[in-house]
């Protein structure tokens, strides 16, 4: 409910199938630093949702605490948002999802929020295959508390105060795959072309979808020596796959080169057209991506694209055998067994 940003849509602005303009997917004015990678990711989210014709109010925007976790205020102002406590977005999202499985859960977090204080909840939300998209805006530092190294800062990288990091950075993608994540992608805030289709694919995935986006912090971690700076990422970004997202209703071209292109069908019937750029790697084979990630790490490269997908996985509500009706819509009759049964129970207790 911030009314800061004027939102009169120009009459000739293009509309999507729902009749919404892109403006209607925006949020209030960002208060992040000018040039912050996080703002680019917000813009990509806006584009992805606009183009996918998502009804904004069907999205719940979830976050923890940090510059990154503030961004849900800067996109989708017609969606409910929940800026929870530091590192605990996964649990809040789990509860929300169990309460209403019919919505789209878009979680946004930072590397501090996820890999430090949030490590436990991150591991477990992965393991539960919660149906959500989890975007890490990964800048290798704690932006909001002024630039301390985070647990994803790479070994040997130098932060703004000139201190060298003496710990290995956590590779969130490899970790998520190890823990059983069913959709794992990596991208760069500066590469909207790659990021938008990845977000679309993630939103279509039924199960846990991680997008780890390297998102430079211009104020505290964009200097030389930082492996999360714009320059470094531009130079060491190795694209593993490029992808197109093909929505449900669109016809699928049949004349593509099957040796290079894999079509992955998503749960909702949409398709991902996946260009594999490395022959050894198979997006549906864990071992091949773990191997690719380990090798990339040795070369100090960042693999980007869709890294791993299991489009047959079972998300949490299904695992729990929960009714298809959102639980928050059950009627009192469905919830309350009534007095007759209670009397019977009491009879059994005499």
């Amino acid at each position: 409910m911030t009314y800061i940003k004027p939102k009169f849509a120009h009459p000739r602005l293009p509309k999507n199938e729902l009749g919404f303009t892109r403006k209607e997917y925006e949020g209030s004015l960002s208060t992040l630093c000018a040039g912050c990678g996080h703002d680019s990711i917000s813009a990509a989210i806006v584009d992805a949702c606009f183009e996918m014709n998502i009804e904004p109010h069907r999205v719940a925007k979830m976050s923890g605490i940090g510059c990154s976790s503030k961004t849900p205020a800067y996109f989708l102002s017609n969606s409910h948002g929940f800026n929870s406590v530091h590192g605990r977005m996964p649990s809040v999202t789990t509860g929300a999802n169990l309460a209403n499985r019919s919505m789209i859960y878009l979680g946004v977090s930072g590397d501090g929020d996820t890999a430090s204080i949030g490590m436990g909840q991150f591991a477990h939300v992965v393991r539960r295959n919660l149906n959500m998209t989890y975007i890490v805006m990964n800048n290798g530092c704690y932006g909001l508390t002024k630039g301390q190294d985070s647990a994803t800062a790479d070994y040997g990288s130098v932060n703004k105060t000139g201190n060298m990091n003496s710990f290995e950075g956590i590779d969130l993608c490899a970790l998520a795959i190890e823990l059983g994540a069913t959709f794992v992608a990596q991208s760069f805030s500066g590469d909207k072309g790659q990021l938008i289709p990845i977000i679309k694919a993630a939103l279509s995935h039924s199960g846990f979808a991680l997008i780890n986006v390297v998102s430079p912090c211009v104020t505290f971690n964009n200097n030389q020596g930082s492996t999360k700076s714009y320059d470094y990422v531009r130079e060491h970004n190795e694209t593993l796959s490029s992808l197109d997202f093909v929505p449900v209703k669109e016809e699928i071209l049949t004349d593509y080169d099957h040796t290079k292109v894999t079509m992955v069908e998503m749960h909702d019937g949409s398709m991902i057209k996946l260009n594999k750029l490395s022959p050894e790697w198979n997006p549906e084979d864990k071992l091949s991506i773990m191997t690719a990630l380990h090798k990339a790490r040795e070369k100090h490269e960042i693999l980007t694209g869709l890294l791993y997908i299991d489009n047959q996985s079972t998300e949490l509500n299904e695992l729990l055998n929960t009714t298809s009706v959102p639980l928050n819509q059950l009627t009192e009759k469905e919830l309350c067994p009534g007095s007759a049964i209670l009397e019977e129970i009491c009879r059994g207790l005499r």
Binding site: I4, H80, V92, M103, T323, S324, C336, I341
Partner: protein
């Protein structure tokens, strides 16, 4: 004094040997004979092999609190023989397995020893090694059934119920029962000078533990999302919810669950999930004990400030830290009432019986949604894990869940304007919206950071103060909604009164009766909720001194009383039992008498 239907039996066993259910059989048989009974299981924080006790008080007068002084000790655990023998009242009985002789030095002249060769009997009569072990328990039940004049057919009836579907287990159990009973018949004089006689004193009462009652209450209250992390003594509350939900909440057509239960990775996640679910409009709760309360405190502050309903049950155990995980206490009151940093205050419900666990648990969801804030039900191990005689649960089928101020899409359409945190009605309670309600209206950003009436981030001082003050106003509204205290008054007939809450109720009521009999009757009040309503201050106002009975060291509820109601501490006398065992009427009386003699102590 007649000893019919008025005595205490204590069983001393080794845990992990299935004795608790045998002992319960005895308690239940007394209940079936129409005689009030209370049972307390005293078990160690381990799984197998350590001493465990089970205490049954049979009391014609209906006093259900614990009572010191053991009339009959049934001890089958040589590890604890020494202290078990020592704990029998003069003139009391000690029943033991005399397959092996007792240590001479343990013997006492002033009590009676009843040796029953349990092991010998079982070795002789059963072949399966597990049965030899297990049926020792039933043999001693048989022995005391005879000693106390209990009708064996009642126990046989209980077997029939217990082994429904496994009928072949009935016969050997009956056999074991009679082996014990017959051994007593053949070797001892019976019944003892105290025994059980049929009465009609339990009415339509039921026997159930508080956790099961609360679990059932949550089903009735409409909880559909449950998140939890195992911890004694709260675990069985969630298990009970699960068991009842499996039976009562399966969609008959699809076989799917009309509920979700998640075992979280820890307590932080458990409360986070419950908050997320409530935010999204499902009724949700979590249950925990002390350490979990500490871990949940950050999230409780978020729910308070962002005004989210959530229900939490604290089944208290002895703290601090890991403390005594299998002993009872009422020592999380300050932690719960003021949980979380900053200025916070939470709603507490304080049940005294399983029936109140059922009722308050169901009501808790109404309160939480009406008030848009956490509601914490403060149970304890004694209430939660012991089976109590209690009045039957009731449900009014015309009752509607009070879902509080939640705007629908059409309301949003007609409202000229709306702000998530506006106090439209002057009761401190704003209107909320649920995610997904309306395509373009009613969305807002929930946050634990400072915000204005429209939920926009704000660091403005005046705005901050406005919101914080409204939260206090909301608690004033809460006082009108929450359960009123129970007052025991017969006109002002004493300068002194008694205040108690939770599981101190039975002992306190017994103490009140004794005081009356002694010719020094006192009025009393039982508190059922925090923040305290005006009735509480009005009551205290009337007396010179009020004894505040608690089961903690630091007089925590007394601290809340003086702080919240601005009462002179001098007026409130501490009566504190905090050794981990349930409080007794004797303890209360002793403390009161002591104070009346030496008021400054």
């Amino acid at each position: 004094m007649s000893r019919i239907n008025d005595f205490v039996v204590r069983f001393a066993n080794v845990n992990g040997t299935g004795s608790a259910s045998a002992n319960y059989l005895f308690a239940k048989s007394v209940f079936r004979m129409g005689v009030p009974v209370s049972a307390k299981n005293i078990f160690p924080s381990n799984i197998q092999g350590l001493p465990t006790w089970y205490e049954v008080r049979v009391c014609e007068k209906g006093y259900l609190g614990r009572k010191e002084g053991i009339d009959l000790m049934v001890s089958v655990n040589p590890q604890s023989f020494k202290r078990d023998i020592a704990s029998v009242k003069t003139g009391g009985y000690f029943l033991y397995d005399n397959t092996k002789p007792l240590h001479e030095e343990f013997l006492r002249d002033d009590i009676h020893f009843i040796g029953v060769p349990l092991m010998d009997i079982c070795n002789r009569e059963f072949t399966d090694p597990r049965q030899k072990q297990l049926f020792k328990n039933i043999v001693y039940v048989g022995a005391i059934v005879r000693l106390l004049n209990i009708d064996t057919s009642i126990i046989e009836g209980l077997f029939a119920e217990q082994f429904q579907g496994k009928e072949k287990l009935i016969a050997p159990n009956v056999k074991a029962l009679h082996l014990g009973s017959d051994y007593v018949r053949d070797n001892f004089r019976y019944p003892l000078e105290f025994s059980v006689e049929v009465r009609d004193l339990v009415g339509d009462s039921i026997m159930i533990d508080g956790n099961s009652a609360a679990g059932l209450g949550a089903v009735y209250g409409g909880a559909s999302v449950v998140s939890w992390y195992p911890i004694t003594p709260s675990t069985s509350l969630v298990s009970a919810f699960e068991d009842y939900a499996k039976k009562l909440r399966k969609d008959p057509l699809t076989g799917k669950n009309n509920y979700s239960i998640v075992q979280a990775e820890d307590e932080l996640a458990a409360i986070g999930m419950a908050i997320g679910a409530n935010w999204n409009g499902a009724r949700s709760f979590t249950a925990t004990s002390g350490p979990g309360i500490s871990l949940m405190s950050e999230f409780l502050g978020l729910a308070y400030y962002a005004e989210l309903p959530v229900v939490l049950v604290d089944v208290q155990r002895s703290g601090p830290s890991t403390g005594m995980p299998t002993r009872t206490q009422q020592s999380d009151f300050i932690s719960a009432a003021y949980a979380s940093h900053g200025d916070t205050k939470h709603i507490l419900l304080i049940p005294s019986t399983p029936t109140e666990c059922f009722d308050m648990m169901a009501d808790a969801f109404d309160y939480a949604e009406q008030l848009q804030t956490p509601v914490i039900m403060m149970s304890d191990l004694d209430l939660g894990m012991n089976e109590h005689m209690t009045s039957p649960f009731q449900w009014d089928d015309n009752r509607k869940y009070k879902r509080g101020k939640v705007l629908t899409a059409s309301q949003l359409d007609t409202l000229p304007s709306w702000g998530r945190y506006r106090d439209v009605d002057g009761d401190g309670i704003p209107y909320r919206t649920l995610p997904g309600t309306h395509p373009t209206k009613g969305s807002y950003f929930t946050r634990g950071s400072s915000h204005d009436e429209n939920a926009a981030y704000s660091e403005d001082s005046a705005t901050y103060v406005r919101i914080m003050d409204r939260l206090l106003k909301k608690l004033e509204t809460a006082k009108k909604i929450l359960p009123a205290p129970q007052v025991y008054q017969s006109g002002k007939n004493s300068d002194h009164a008694i205040l108690f809450y939770g599981t101190s109720m039975h002992a306190a009521e017994e103490a009140l009766d004794v005081l009356k009999m002694e010719g020094t009757p006192m009025d009393a009040i039982r508190i059922k909720a925090f923040p305290f309503s005006f009735e509480v201050s009005e009551f205290i106002e009337l007396y010179d001194k009020v004894f505040v009975i608690e089961q903690n060291r630091d007089a925590q509820v007394r601290a809340l009383l003086i702080n919240e109601l601005e009462i002179n501490p001098k007026k409130l006398v501490k009566v504190l039992n905090y050794d981990g065992t349930p409080i007794t009427a004797d303890f209360i009386l002793k403390s009161i008498h002591q104070h009346l003699i030496q008021p400054n102590n």
